[in-house]
């Protein structure tokens, strides 16, 4: 299915804000619940941050690609890069909560490499039903 929105830009920290704003506009255009939109943007920010920090570590930043596809009240967002893949980073400056946070904020998340051997984080968000809330009992 062809995405409804595709962004391709250099994997630089300042471009994360651009992705967030693009999804803000998307959320407003689709009248997405404010809390859900906030959760979506946080999850997407985490995925993009991983690309910026880890995908091209030690070399020139490569592409950061973000696709959004709307289908049957479900929004699928794919964050893609040309890095070596997702692996534990013991020396990472972060707290290691990024992927659990994405999993908590999205309906589903898949990590892997696509048919072109590019690294992908695929998140789905349900746009229908009750406003999205974080379940405090749900393990992160």
């Amino acid at each position: 299915m062809t995405p409804d929105m595709e962004l391709s830009l250099p994997a630089q920290a300042e471009n994360i804000a651009l992705v967030r704003h693009a999804f803000g506009a998307l959320g407003e255009a689709l009248a997405v619940d404010e809390q859900l939109l906030s959760d979506m943007r946080l999850a997407i920010t985490e995925a993009c941050s991983n690309v910026v920090v880890h995908a091209y570590a030690g070399r020139e930043p490569g592409p950061l690609e973000v696709d959004a596809t709307l289908h049957d009240d479900e929004l699928t967002v794919v964050v893609r890069d040309d890095g070596p893949g997702i692996a534990p980073h013991p020396g990472s400056p972060g707290l290691g909560l990024g992927l659990p946070l994405i999993a908590s904020l999205s309906q589903s998340v898949e990590l892997g490499r696509n048919e072109h051997e590019r690294t992908e984080v695929r998140m789905t968000f349900s746009l229908s039903g009750a406003p999205h809330q974080i379940d405090p009992a749900r393990p992160m």
């Binding site: 929105m5 630089q12 300042e14 693009a22 407003e28 255009a29």
Partner: protein, 149 residues
């Protein structure tokens, strides 16, 4: 897993006065389906890119009017239900490339952007315009530049 850079920092911080303009960053490509997403998403992305390029407010306003004109009419001339925009910051300028237009679409898009008492928005607010064949040979691309030195 990672530290998270301040996500909105570059959007809200005022542009610092410096003796030289900021270094242009790489191109930003946006592809959107025809429909309600095109206008708001294009406007947000363009305003972000221009703000980072230290574009003055009056030219940013011009750019947003230009974006509105393009997104209002581009769907009429798109080849397959999508329109692509590539924003390439340059020193004191930005190039906006509108792609995936059908044959004759770029010129028609310019012609359609006339407004009563205003004139042709694309011609008025862009500093240069050219039509190029699409890289796949199946249509046209409209290339606009905005200067803001």
């Amino acid at each position: 897993m990672s530290e998270t850079p301040d996500p909105d920092a570059s959007a809200s911080e005022p542009v610092a006065e410096t003796s030289s303009p900021p270094e242009p960053s790489g191109p930003v490509m946006l592809r959107v389906a025809n429909g309600p997403l095109a206008a708001p998403v294009l406007a947000r992305v363009v305003s972000m890119v221009l703000a980072r390029a230290a574009c003055p407010l009056d030219r940013l306003d011009d750019a947003l009017i230009l974006c509105d004109a393009i997104s209002a009419h581009a769907h009429t001339y798109s080849r397959d239900g999508h329109i692509s925009f590539t924003l390439t910051p340059e020193t004191n300028a930005i190039e906006l490339r509108v792609a995936e237009l059908g044959p004759g679409g770029a010129s028609a898009l310019i012609e359609d952007s006339g407004l009563p008492d205003v004139g042709n928005v694309i011609e008025r607010f862009s500093d240069s315009r050219r039509v190029e064949p699409a890289q796949d040979g199946a249509g046209e691309e409209l290339v606009l530049t905005l200067d803001f030195d």
